[in-house]
């Protein structure tokens, strides 16, 4: 155990200390957070100019309401006396601190057309805000004659389609929302599992191959058994991966913790609540951890075996292809069938090598029964034991073997005789 730990520690420290790791792990999230923050900040600055607007309403019917609503959205706007001459208004735009002014007249009430006079065009964000406020106000004016004023308001703000199951009470409205959220979380999780397994698997392959190529392994192997060396390397790279994901996860957590209230402040109340429900709960996080750890070990042993049987970089590029296919195929199937879910795919998802990418999203969205999730985890553990055994034997023979890559038949012999 001590030796596994020594190998692990070296592997981990040597990786974590590289500039590449620090850059990818710490600088990248900082950069992304910074960019999100900056663009949000600039956007808000641009939209809410402190130079103010004015409004002339010749109809005398909607001016007050529009002014109130626009200022509620954070703009400075005042209504002015319709008797003010347009020459006087234009002069104030050119000489005083007036950004521009709106003209609402009869044509606005009939066709929804209104004017904005200013030195510069209002910009797309402000244009959209002003248009929707004016149109909503006029619609409400027209419809307020009807009895159901409140209903009209709700309609204007937008309706929603609600699913009702004919199968009985099993699918409540809540379950439907949960499933939608679960699908989104599952999709994101599958994506992360795919990328990290591929990434860290490649690290393991490289670590094994480098050690074999520069012959360090010949020195090390007189003091450590091949099994311990392989385990140490896989654990070392895995710890590095966990560190990296931990830091990334923590940055996302911080972003949510401090960013969400900021976002919620400028969004309507309902939207913010909807956003929060997409955060995964502890159960889903635990499932993700289980699939990540099992999947990582499964593929890391395969990549270690590939690294051990190759002598050159080019060799490894070719030899890792079958292993990559075990990741790419389920990923493709998952992406293609995001919407259309076939029942037989649930069974495909039980294949241990496909499970991380295909079963985790199903588990997260609750699309498969619990026993299936449990079964997939058990199958993965069994597959891991078998894979580690075979990979360990290939590794043991391979790391000391120089020359050309073994054929499939030779591989079988290695496994048998090692």
């Amino acid at each position: 155990m001590r030796q596994v730990w020594i190998v692990l520690r070296r592997e981990y420290l040597e990786r974590v200390k590289t500039k590449g790791f620090i850059l990818a792990t710490i600088a990248l999230p900082l950069l992304i957070i910074g960019m999100i923050g900056l663009s949000g900040f600039l956007g808000m600055q641009a939209a809410r100019s402190d130079r103010h607007l004015e409004l002339i309403d010749y109809t005398g019917q909607v001016g007050e309401e529009v002014t109130a609503r626009v200022s509620a959205l954070g703009y400075e706007i005042d209504q002015v006396d319709p008797a003010t001459s347009l020459e006087e208004m234009d002069r104030r735009v050119l000489e005083d601190n007036l950004e521009g002014y709106l003209i609402i007249d009869d044509l606005t009430l009939t066709d929804g057309v209104f004017a904005y006079r200013g030195e510069d065009s209002p910009g797309s964000v402000r244009r959209a805000v002003l248009e929707s406020v004016v149109v909503e106000t006029i619609l409400e004016l027209y419809l307020s004659g009807l009895e159901s004023g409140e209903a009209v308001r709700a309609l204007i703000e937008g309706g929603s389609l609600e699913f009702e199951s004919v199968a009985g009470s099993a699918e409540s409205e809540n379950a439907e929302v949960n499933r939608m959220v679960g699908t989104a979380v599952g999709f994101a999780g599958a994506m992360i599992l795919y990328i990290t397994t591929l990434l860290y698997g490649a690290y393991v392959l490289r670590a094994v191959l480098d050690e074999k190529r520069n012959r360090v392994v010949e020195v090390v192997i007189s003091s450590v058994t091949p099994g311990r060396l392989m385990l140490g390397k896989i654990l070392g790279v895995g710890s590095m991966g966990l560190t990296q994901m931990g830091i990334w996860g923590a940055s996302v957590g911080l972003l949510v913790l401090f960013g969400l209230p900021l976002v919620a402040a400028i969004l309507p109340e309902g939207v913010a609540a909807e956003l929060t429900q997409f955060l995964p709960g502890p159960g889903v996080l635990a499932l993700f951890a289980a699939y990540f750890v099992l999947g990582y070990f499964l593929f890391a042993s395969l990549f270690a075996a590939v690294g051990a049987m190759c002598a050159t970089e080019e060799d490894a590029q070719q030899a890792q292809f079958p292993v990559m296919m075990l990741l790419i195929v389920p990923f493709m199937m998952q992406m293609v069938t995001i919407e259309a879910d076939f029942a037989w795919m649930d069974w495909v998802a039980l294949f241990p090598y496909f499970s991380p990418i295909m079963m985790f999203p199903r588990a997260a969205s609750g699309a498969v029964p619990v026993w299936m999730v449990a079964l997939s985890l058990v199958l993965m553990v069994l597959a891991l034991m078998g894979t580690a055994w075979v990979a360990g034997r290939i590794y043991r023979v391979g790391i000391l073997m120089q020359g050309k890559r073994p054929t499939l038949r030779e591989l079988v012999r290695w496994v048998r005789t090692a």
């Binding site: 520069n214 012959r215 020195v219």
Partner: protein, 312 residues
């Protein structure tokens, strides 16, 4: 005492090429043994079999009286021919890693490594990455990794190649020192002169077969022709009585062929009688190279052609 290493009719083939053929060898503990032969004669293959990196097709390899298993291999310090180092690691960190793997504590590994680094004049380079060091320095670092855990036996594959003469001498001194502490040292080399300086026992290899092995002094005594070398100031006329065929001038000395011990005494007596001023009188011993050529043939020192068809 049981031999440190024993090979019993060991044969190793790579495809059609036989790298080591029916090899017998015993290495007594506490000696410096040189494995001598031209490039490609099978030295590295043999060493790799002793370290269980390769396995013989036929025959048996024993280390410390048993299978070269994990526990026994750990009693050996092994320096492979290709220099295996973690290039991106710092010098001291790499040595501490190797020391810890072999059972030293962290502190122990650190103090020992520092002491060795000082001794091999690498003190300044402790914090540098290995890839920043010259080839020779990397080799010294690797040598330290070999001796760090104070193994019972050192197996060194071409330890001197690539080192300048000063560093070669430093390394030779360390090898002698380890020998004085009762350690066994087996090293391979293609430099006959070096083996001659350093070894107590030699094993001569040519084309995957053993040519000759045993105690170097005994071997030389056995192989010597009985000729003597004489150096003197004065008239060389007295040499005439030994005939023209048996006398030849080599640089400052005269070499005289003899047929037995009695004749050597006669030569010495004649020299003393002739009134010359005698500077040196020595029984000539053959060099290792001469012994090697005598037993393996003139062509043996050339590299064998790849995959010789005659050897099956």
């Amino acid at each position: 005492m049981e031999p440190a290493v024993r090979l019993e009719r060991v044969t190793k083939r790579f495809g059609k090429h036989t790298a080591v053929s029916e090899f017998d060898l015993e290495i007594p503990p506490g000696t410096i043994v040189g494995l001598l032969g031209p490039n490609g004669s099978g030295k590295t293959t043999m060493i790799r079999m002793i370290m269980a990196i390769l396995f013989p097709d036929e025959g048996r390899v024993e280390l410390f009286g048993g299978e070269p298993d994990f526990g026994r291999r750990n009693r050996v310090g092994y320096l492979p021919e290709e220099r295996g180092v973690y290039e991106k690691m710092k010098v001291l960190e790499q040595l501490v890693f190797l020391g810890e793997l072999r059972g030293l504590s962290r502190a122990q590994a650190r103090t020992r490594a520092s002491r060795w680094l000082e001794r091999l004049k690498l003190g300044k380079w402790v914090g540098k990455k290995i890839q920043e060091l010259s080839k020779g320095m990397q080799q010294k670092v690797q040598f330290i990794g070999t001796v760090l855990h104070d193994p019972e036996m050192l197996i060194l594959d071409e330890p001197f190649s690539g080192l300048d003469p000063i560093n070669q001498e430093v390394l030779e001194a360390i090898v002698r020192e380890e020998r004085a502490r009762g350690r066994t040292i087996l090293f391979s080399t293609h430099l006959m002169e070096q083996a001659e300086r350093l070894c107590e026992r030699v094993c001569l290899i040519s084309r995957s077969r053993k040519v000759l092995d045993g105690d170097l002094k005994a071997m030389k005594r056995r192989e010597r022709s009985g000729a003597v070398a004489v150096e003197f100031d004065g008239d060389p006329g007295w040499l005439n009585r030994f005939g023209v065929a048996g006398v030849e001038q080599v640089e400052d000395a005269w070499h005289i062929a003899t047929t037995g011990d009695g004749q050597r005494s006669q030569i010495l007596a004649a020299a003393l009688d002739s009134g010359i001023e005698l500077r040196r009188f020595e029984i000539l011993e053959p060099t290792l190279r001469e012994i090697f050529v005598r037993h393996a043939g003139e062509s043996a020192e050339e590299e064998p052609t790849l995959a010789p068809g005659g050897e099956r």
